[in-house]
């Protein structure tokens, strides 16, 4: 289309957005003759005007044999009846089918848009969840910090314990050494005393002590009664 040669004010002013298509087509009567024709003749001839004109024209053509009834007329009647039958029976279905095709086209595009919106909303939800998670990180870090401090404390106390034990071991050793030394000295002295005492026991003294023991025993046996 050569846009420079169009009538300036009566044609389409811009190419986008296009004006919307009309909802319904032009009104027609008997499928052929537009309503505007009837409205045009109405002021002068009333409601029956166009019909009188049609009938008059038809009769004129027939009587003057401008239109001759021949075999084509019969053929015309047949094909026209078939066409009119077809249109009346299947017209609305075909129109509904065409509308369905358009609806599907629009629905597909809308589906893409809605899908995109849904995905973006889900992404927003995810993002919000991530932000909430990020807030929780402070608590996480505090807990971890506490853990580490506790570990350090435990380690320190363990080491203190180790030190204490080591020191105690050293001191115990010293105590044990002293005890051992004292014990050894005591034992040695007791042994020496015993040895000397045993050496100093003469045979005479031995016989005297044995006789004394026997006398003591006899005396005790007199006083004690054996239990039966």
């Amino acid at each position: 289309v050569l846009h420079t040669t169009r009538p300036l004010h009566t044609t389409l002013q811009r190419l986008a957005p296009l004006p919307p298509l009309p909802e319904k087509g032009g009104e027609v009567r008997y499928g052929l003759i537009p309503e505007e024709f009837f409205q045009f003749l109405y002021p002068k001839t009333g409601v029956t005007g166009p019909y009188m004109l049609g009938t008059g024209l038809l009769l004129y053509f027939l009587s003057k044999e401008i239109y001759v009834i021949n075999h084509e007329t019969v053929a015309a009647a047949c094909i026209l009846s078939v066409i009119i039958y077809g249109v009346k029976k299947y017209g609305s279905d075909v129109a509904a089918f065409a509308d369905k095709l358009n609806e599907e086209k629009i629905a597909k595009a809308l589906a893409v848009k809605n899908e995109a919106i849904k995905d973006l909303e889900a992404a927003i939800e995810q993002e919000k969840k991530e932000q909430w998670r990020a807030e929780g990180h402070t608590y996480l870090f505090d807990a971890k910090r506490n853990n580490i401090v506790m570990l350090l404390e435990t380690n320190y106390r363990e080491r203190l314990l180790t030190v204490y034990n080591e020191v105690k071991k050293r001191l115990d050793y010293q105590v044990a050494m002293q005890n051992l030394k004292r014990q050894k000295e005591q034992d040695h002295m007791i042994q020496w005393v015993e040895k000397n005492v045993v050496q100093s026991i003469t045979p005479q003294q031995q016989k005297e002590s044995i006789a004394k023991c026997i006398l003591d025993l006899k005396a005790l046996s007199k006083s004690a009664q054996a239990a039966v």
Binding site: L15, N70, H71, E72, C78, I79, F97, A98, N102
Partner: protein, 227 residues
């Protein structure tokens, strides 16, 4: 005017100006042209749906190289369909009843498929002349037969379309003449003949659509063999 049976097949002429070109181009005026809208009116939507259907049907059996033929085959289909269907209206001239026009469609297109096959894959193309599994003795005879059948294809394509449409139109004329002639004599017989005429009209509608489809389908089949 008094019409003989063959007046409908004469090339139209007005005041000495031949109107044949106009009658061939007129059907294109009836189809909606493409608009720059995304959502069209019902007629445009139905037309695009129909064109999509035809193209899909024709192009599925073809390989990628054959898809170059999509435009010519689909537009040929639409032309033949509209010409045939418009010819059923009274007092209309049907260009496809002329053998000259149908041969002008059939011969160049068939020759194009043949030459494409011979140029790109000559041995496969010639190999189509011998069906698989023929007994050895029959080979020479079969090659002659297949060659004849190959060479007669354009003639068959053109004459099939012409004959179907011409015969149909002529039958309509004859039966409607019988109806008109019987009407004053025996109205009952006339009514019966009208019934026959109705059935014939429905048949002719079907034939018009089928013949267009068959023409294009056969061309696509010849293309499949050769591309």
């Amino acid at each position: 005017m008094s019409l003989s049976f063959f007046d409908q097949f004469t090339s139209p002429c007005l005041l000495g100006i031949p109107l044949i070109l106009l009658s061939m181009l007129f059907p294109a005026l009836l189809l909606p042209s493409q608009s720059n809208r995304w959502v069209n009116n019902r007629l445009s939507t139905l037309q695009s749906w129909f064109l999509h259907l035809i193209t899909k049907q024709l192009m599925i059996p073809l390989n990628k190289k054959g898809h170059k033929w999509a435009l010519i085959l689909t537009s040929l289909m639409m032309l033949l369909l509209t010409i045939n269907l418009l010819g059923l209206l009274p007092y209309t001239f049907t260009p496809t009843t002329q053998l000259s026009m149908n041969m002008a469609f059939a011969l160049p297109l068939w020759l194009a498929t043949l030459l494409t096959g011979l140029r790109n894959q000559p041995s496969i193309s010639l190999g189509h002349l011998l069906p698989e599994g023929t007994p050895t003795l029959l080979i020479p005879a079969l090659i002659m037969i297949e060659t004849t059948s190959l060479l007669i294809r354009p003639l068959a394509l053109g004459v099939r379309l012409t004959a179907n449409l011409t015969a149909g139109h002529l039958l309509i004329q004859l039966i409607s003449t019988a109806t008109t002639a019987l009407l004053p004599i025996m109205p009952a017989a006339s009514a019966l003949t009208t019934l026959i005429l109705l059935l014939l009209t429905i048949l002719e509608l079907a034939v018009a659509m089928i013949q267009a489809y068959v023409f294009v389908l056969l061309l696509s089949l010849y293309l499949q063999e050769n591309i």
